[in-house]
Symmetry: D2
């Protein structure tokens, strides 16, 4: 068993992950950063951000994870203790798929989980099914992104570990989904739990501070998924500490 | 300038790359391995293959390069001296593109070049244009894959460093393109050179041994692009040495 | 209101459609033919097939519908009384979408419904949501195609009029889904009804004769969706009569 | 041979098409309207626009063609004499391609030609090759849309009947490409003719009046491709007459 998987088990005992029915899964409430392909979060710059999250997570004991570009998984995983996620996997098995993202490859590089169907990388319905199955088969934690209550509920049918609802029109914007459309958060939580109460729900889009995080928990979510709120901030540590303060 | 780029310049002086008008470009004739997403070439297994190519390239002084999954670029680059390529880049600039392959990211991870438009990952015409422009802008060497003489000629219009013609129906098969359809190789060379004589031409599909490599050179190509011929071989070193023997 | 809609209401009163809460919807049990882009079902040849179905439907009073290429909707609709469906709509509103299939366009051409997400034309999850919404908004009947029990259940979340489950590996084959995998039919019916009992379920793939149709009904389906079984038959009328005999 | 093809030959003799080496091709200079999926150009509204173009074309003897949604080809073709084009074809042969646009289908519905690779419906390089081959095989006239000089030149490699260059950022805008970027028009004409002088060149994006048309001819183009300039105009006939006045 590679070293990174042992580390993951360490995370688990250090309460950064939980193992539920032997499934590796982020401990909640959780703050998940998706660095996208921002210039401010490519290569060594991603590692710097991951280090800050790692430090704050250790100091505050708030569960955090970082989702990085495929190229940066290995080095990120070598450097930090917080769980590293892939931003995407393709619905494929090993074989002739030049340039696509093989689930086994992100796992071997050190990712413990992956985003699936992000708003900027949407998948066909049958492919979401395949990606979730592949993630489960490889024991990769997984966050399926959705755009409204109906798609959140549909995604829940596949019993993923997480559904993260993000209204596309609010992504990257200045107003948090928890303020602009709180009903989509509470509605998604309700709809998802009705299908399968084990599925956890995150929310995202415009999340920027601890108040937004606190509101998301209040609305029933198990945490937040955010990107520009941290990546584009001048003082990243200050923002990360503020976000963490929103939990408990 | 990051260390890996300096190393690339070392390759150049060690005759594994050439610098033409300050453009980083593989020294030819060249043998390029595309490992795809084969199980036999994911994670550490890719590194093992790269090490063998590195050893044979050093011993024979035959130019070789390896194109690997995005997740494996960094570690591969840290381990071997032969040029490491990405298998794909997306036609994007830094920004909000979750899970897509940013040219800057593969460069920073250590790739000196990339495949573009592989038969298993075809791109729209305008996006091929954009990918080539982005590769040039970042001084990433680039091999544009095509499927016949006409598309090879069309790709040459963008003056890429390399065009690699591979008839899709022969990819992964037992008969080399140089035997099954030699006219597509010589025809592509002629068509490409008519558009821009600086563009180099590789051929691929079914290439398995030194005889196939020798024939490709004879047909006017500057080398070969292959995958399963090496990846699926029991004795990879033997195959790589045989391929190398096909040059000179 | 255009003439074709009045005709649709005629179908309704002639028991070929039902109006449920003012929603136009095929009367069930139903036999739906999808002609795909077969040479044997392009242009006038489609019309000939539609005429045979129209005749048999009138004589047997068995509900039938035909899904045709966008180019053939208008003429088909002008010629026959059975409901004409589109094979696909794109998730768009009127605007700048050159060459895509506007829901309004198929409606105006005379279609009373459409397939959505056929196995040969799969859509992203969010786009299935949009297509179903657009179909409801325009009062277009709609059949959402799925590939297994889980995707059938996920599709049911959007409360479409119909879900049609078709295992891709059996499509176009010689063995009917009702024989090769009866559990996928009964399982889909159960899963769909659990989500929303108003959603009707069709099954397809390899369906060729009345026995297959009878079995589909026995398994809980509301009818069948088929293609090559009719289109590729030498004696189409004989096959259509046999299929009809499978109902009641 | 269906009636509509005979009519096409009539167009030819009436000088609305030319037959070059037995290839059906629009007579130039030409004004081609692409109605997209605008609400103002769906169903009967398209027919109304086509009738106006037909009338003006007859009165002025200026060559015009209209590219319409697949659903509207048949009726449009039945109603007007000007050549009717499809907005798109898919790179397919007859078979199992539910909901895709079969070249044979648009031909049988009455289209004499088609757009290929419109900016709103871009195709992969290999698929552009296939679409052009299929159009030639069926003797469908064809206009390959491109976005800059380089892609225009690449498209010319396939020797299509027409290349239409349209800078995407100017499409639907208020300033004509002939004013905003005249160099892209003259540059494309030069680049295309260098590859194959038989290929004719249109230009588009923001074209709104006769002055723009005159300028396009002056820049070496064989006509214009436009959409909103006519479709969104209050007085369509006035605009069409003005555009026609730009020729000769």
């Amino acid at each position: 068993m590679p070293k990174n998987i042992l580390k993951v088990i360490d995370f688990s005992t250090s309460k950064k992950n939980i193992v539920r029915n032997k499934i590796i899964m982020l401990k909640t409430p959780v703050i998940v950063l998706n660095v996208k392909t921002y210039a401010e979060a490519t290569g060594d710059k991603t590692i710097e951000i991951a280090k800050i999250m790692d430090k704050v997570s250790n100091e505050t004991d708030i569960s955090m994870a970082i989702s990085v570009q495929a190229t940066d998984i290995y080095k990120c995983r070598e450097t930090v203790e917080i769980p590293v996620f892939a931003e995407h996997i393709d619905p494929i098995k090993p074989g002739s798929h030049t340039g696509w993202t093989l689930p086994e490859a992100v796992k071997k590089a050190g990712a413990v989980g992956t985003l699936i169907n992000h708003s900027e990388h949407r998948l066909k319905l049958a492919d979401i099914d395949t990606c979730i199955s592949r993630a489960k088969e490889l024991n990769l934690d997984h966050i399926v992104c959705t755009n409204n209550i109906a798609t959140s509920k549909a995604a829940a049918v596949f019993s993923p570990n997480f559904v993260a609802v993000e209204p596309p029109e609010l992504i990257g914007g200045d107003i948090s989904v928890t303020t602009a459309d709180p009903g989509i958060v509470s509605g998604s939580v309700e709809a998802v739990k009705k299908i399968d109460e084990r599925v956890k729900v995150l929310c995202g889009a415009g999340v920027k501070n601890g108040k937004d995080v606190a509101k998301s928990i209040e609305l029933g979510a198990d945490g937040v998924l955010l990107a520009s709120g941290i990546v584009k901030a001048d003082d990243k540590e200050k923002v990360i500490r503020d976000l963490a303060a929103g939990i408990k």
